[in-house]
């Protein structure tokens, strides 16, 4: 299981939980498990979301591995100027 931190405005979809656990070995599995377990997150994930894995921001990188002790933070899809 991997712990995923959910940012504040999405916590309505996780019953208020700031952190949820999913069974996942990579970026893609984290996202699909989040969508499956918390349907309220689907709209945000479809509109775009990134994952910070151990401090690095990944915007779309399905096969980036995550480990049980990885720090995984769900973030908005990031754009720049």
């Amino acid at each position: 299981m991997v712990k995923v931190t959910i940012w504040g405005s999405l916590r309505a979809a996780t019953d208020g939980a700031a952190e949820v656990e999913v069974e996942a070995q990579n970026f893609k599995q984290v996202m699909s498990e989040l969508e499956r377990n918390y349907p309220g997150l689907q709209a945000q994930i479809a509109a775009g979301a990134s994952l910070a894995i151990d401090g690095k921001i990944y915007r779309e990188a399905w096969f980036t591995p995550v480990y049980p002790d990885s720090e995984v933070v769900l973030m908005p899809f990031m754009v720049g100027g």
Partner: protein, 744 residues
């Protein structure tokens, strides 16, 4: 991704060679968006809404079409249905559908044989508007009786009672705020305001579109990302991607504002209808009215501090206004607000509200300056109240490796503390100030991104190398990419020519944004060079009849290694290239990647400002930028990014703002009334580069383009406030506004 050892000796990286497009740009030869022509080309012009908010009852173009020389008129019905909310919003921003949503919103377009005829034709298009009540300010847009732009754009999952114009909600942070504030010796809570600003690139949007009767089209335009332009235009015109080839012209500035489309799909639709090439260029007035400004904002900030300067808790409530469409920039603002600090209890929350203004577009570190300014201004106020040095307080609270950032993830190695220390030790910080002078300090932060990137390079017969990349070069990136190729291949920089290819010539590239180009394109270039090197070593191994692993690449030569060392005369790249056709054919290298790990960046700015107490006129006396650039490939262009970002931030702080009248109309759509800094407004801007290598890049590159616009807003505001001995809490700080605070 192979990472090099920390201490690599560079030959070319870190030097300052001339840029490859330089001669063209000092002789007037370089071709920008509006400089291209095609035989038989028509001129396109756009009709724009004179109202802030109006239902379009009907559009009658018959009189315009009857005018001699008019070849086509298009309206919203000439475009395909865009897929997904974001694409629909971008299309609607290019061309109004049932409603005009802001003053200057495009409602129709015409193509004619001359600009004069096209302008006449615009006057002949009859639009029947039903004028609707409008709203342009944040305070008004959240009122219960506010006009609602689009009821279906309210934030999804918003709690009961959320005003209908609120499109996005944001909330980041951690820790127990109440407990944190309880530990503080001093808590201050203040409100701040910023206005919308424009990127202000000197080149207006311009393009030349040409579609044939077979549906194949070519588009030439100034853009930060021609692949993104292709994808958006193809979607809006119902084309497949391979039918549309987009070539990026030289670009006269973008700063985020040229990452979306405005006139490009319109020019294509006109060309399709007229059967001729169509050229379009926005006027400056159109640029202001209908291309992307930043959000405006209101902020309530509350920070608790101990007597010693430790921040015990921090809270921000941010309200952004992002124009007539949803905008996620509030998230970026909220994430950046407190990112510079190591905080036990922190929360930044807020919302974005829709108004009758143009759709907000990214502007250099989008959201960050607006989120960071009120925080850095309040910290300055706390420092004064507690009699503490503003740099010491920032050093005491600075985020570092291992800090849990205010937006969630834990930081890797970052350079904030080193940057603050450099500022403290710099002579600027120790220069005495005179009367009516103040010194302002501010930190700034930006994430930096990588993204999809393709690079290919061919080794020519004569030993020169052609590098092909796909990111429009706004500030000298062809030079830095060429330098990295030369460094890795071990050949002179002059032997490389780097070009930015069209969308058909090389794989997809994300736009030139997010400070990604030197990082991602550089990374792909180095890997493409390694790919070519591997091929060259394999060829040489065959020639020598030894194992490919026994050939190494050094200084532009293949050399026998291991037990073969010294047995064969090394072969140079040119020698290998000259016989390539005999050893297996042309030699090329390529690399495609979605590059991550760009590495966040921090900056610290110092501003010294003198205010004339009689007039409120302020003069920037001294300005110094400190920034962690990772490895600086071409230091002159790194300095240029730091200086340019600072100048834009100074403009934002001192003068620039969108001004809307009660009638909802934009009152200052020109450079005379929207005043960006001119040469005589600014002092020399010193740029101090710190090089803390990014472990995620083979040469240690971090993005540098965006961070520098973040600190100036508060640095300037803090300097002015200290100079006048009173607090400024709204931007821009034009002389009358400063005077009001002095007199108030």
């Amino acid at each position: 991704m192979a990472l090099d050892t920390e201490k690599r000796e560079f030959k070319i990286i870190g030097t300052r060679p001339l840029r490859p497009d330089g001669i063209d740009k000092v002789t007037g030869r370089a071709l920008y968006g509006a400089d291209m022509v095609a035989p038989g080309m028509l001129e396109g012009k756009i009709l724009r809404s004179p109202h802030a908010h109006a239902r379009i009852v009907s559009i009658d173009a018959s009189a315009a079409l009857a005018l001699q020389g008019v070849k086509a008129v298009v309206t919203a019905s000439d475009f395909s249905e865009a897929k997904g909310e974001l694409m629909q919003n971008i299309l609607e921003n290019c061309m109004a559908q049932d409603k005009a949503l802001y003053h200057g919103h495009a409602v129709a377009a015409v193509a004619a044989t001359s600009e004069t005829i096209a302008k006449q034709a615009l006057k002949l298009i009859k639009v029947d508007y039903e004028v609707l009540p409008h709203v342009t300010e944040i305070e008004d847009a959240v009122k219960p009786d506010a006009p609602v732009l689009r009821p279906d754009r309210r934030a999804k999952g918003a709690p009961e009672g959320t005003p209908a114009n609120i499109t996005n909600l944001s909330n980041f942070g951690h820790g127990d705020l109440e407990a944190g504030f309880a530990k503080a010796d001093l808590i201050i809570e203040r409100s701040f305001r910023t206005e919308s600003t424009h990127q202000g690139y000197i080149e207006p949007h311009a393009c030349l579109a040409s579609m044939g009767p077979d549906g194949k089209a070519d588009l030439w335009c100034c853009t930060q990302g021609h692949y993104a332009v292709r994808d958006m235009c193809a979607s809006f015109l119902g084309m497949s991607l391979s039918q549309l080839r987009v070539t990026a012209s030289e670009i006269g500035g973008g700063f985020g504002g040229k990452t979306v489309v405005f006139i490009e799909p319109v020019a294509l639709a006109l060309s399709r209808k007229a059967g001729k090439p169509v050229k379009m260029a926005m006027t400056r007035e159109e640029v202001f009215k209908a291309s992307g400004p930043t959000p405006s904002s209101l902020a309530d900030i509350k920070i608790g501090m101990t007597k010693g300067g430790k921040i015990t808790a921090a809270h921000a409530k941010l309200r952004f206004q992002g124009g007539a469409f949803p905008s996620g920039t509030i998230d970026l603002g909220a994430m950046c607000a407190f990112a510079a600090y190591d905080l036990e209890a922190v929360r930044a929350e807020g919302f974005n509200v829709m108004t009758n203004r143009p759709r907000e577009a990214a502007y250099r570190a989008p959201g960050a300056p607006i989120g960071v300014y009120p925080v850095e201004a309040l910290i300055d106020e706390l420092c004064i109240e507690l009699g503490l040095d503003p740099l010491d307080v920032r050093l005491l609270n600075a985020a570092d490796k291992g800090t849990k950032s205010s937006y969630g993830p834990t930081f890797e190695a970052i350079g904030l503390k080193a940057t603050l220390e450099a500022a403290k030790a710099h002579r600027h910080y120790n220069t005495p100030l005179g009367p009516n002078q103040g010194r302002g300090v501010s930190c700034g932060f930006w994430f930096n991104f990588g993204g999809s990137t393709s690079v290919s390079m061919s080794v020519n017969d004569d030993g020169t190398v052609a590098v092909t990349e796909g990111n429009p070069d706004i500030g000298g990136s062809r030079a830095s990419v060429g330098m990295m190729a030369a460094e890795e291949l071990g050949i002179p920089y002059e032997n490389i020519r780097t070009i930015v290819a069209d969308t058909n010539s090389i794989g997809f590239n994300d736009p030139t944004h997010g400070s990604r180009v030197t990082f991602s394109v550089g990374l792909a270039t180095i890997e493409a060079a390694r790919d070519a090197i591997k091929k060259m070593c394999t060829r040489v191994a065959k020639i020598w009849d030894i194992d490919p692993d026994a050939v190494m690449w050094e200084d532009g030569h293949a050399r026998p290694a291991g037990e073969n060392a010294g047995n064969y005369e090394p072969m140079s790249l040119a020698e290998i290239a000259a016989i390539a056709s005999k050893t297996g054919g042309p030699i090329a290298g390529h690399y495609e990647v979605n590059a991550d790990s760009a590495g966040v960046s921090f900056g610290v700015h110092l501003a010294d400002i003198e205010v004339d107490p009689e007039t409120g006129f302020s003069t920037v006396l001294r300005y110094t930028v400190f920034q962690d650039a990772g490895k600086a490939i071409h230091p002159a262009y790194v300095e240029g990014q730091m200086q340019g970002g600072a100048a834009q931030g100074i403009g934002w702080a001192m003068n620039e703002e969108y001004i809307y009248g009660k009638d909802g109309l934009l009152q200052n759509a020109g450079f005379l009334d929207y005043r960006i800094p001119v040469a005589s407004d600014l002092p020399p801007i010193e740029a101090v580069i710190l090089e803390i290598p990014n472990p995620g890049h083979p040469y240690g590159v971090r993005g540098v383009g965006e961070t520098a616009i973040v600190p100036p807003l508060a640095a300037v505001s803090n300097a002015v406030s200290r100079a006048i001995g009173k607090r400024m809490r709204a931007l821009p700080m034009s002389p009358p506004k400063i005077l009001k605070v002095i007199k108030g």
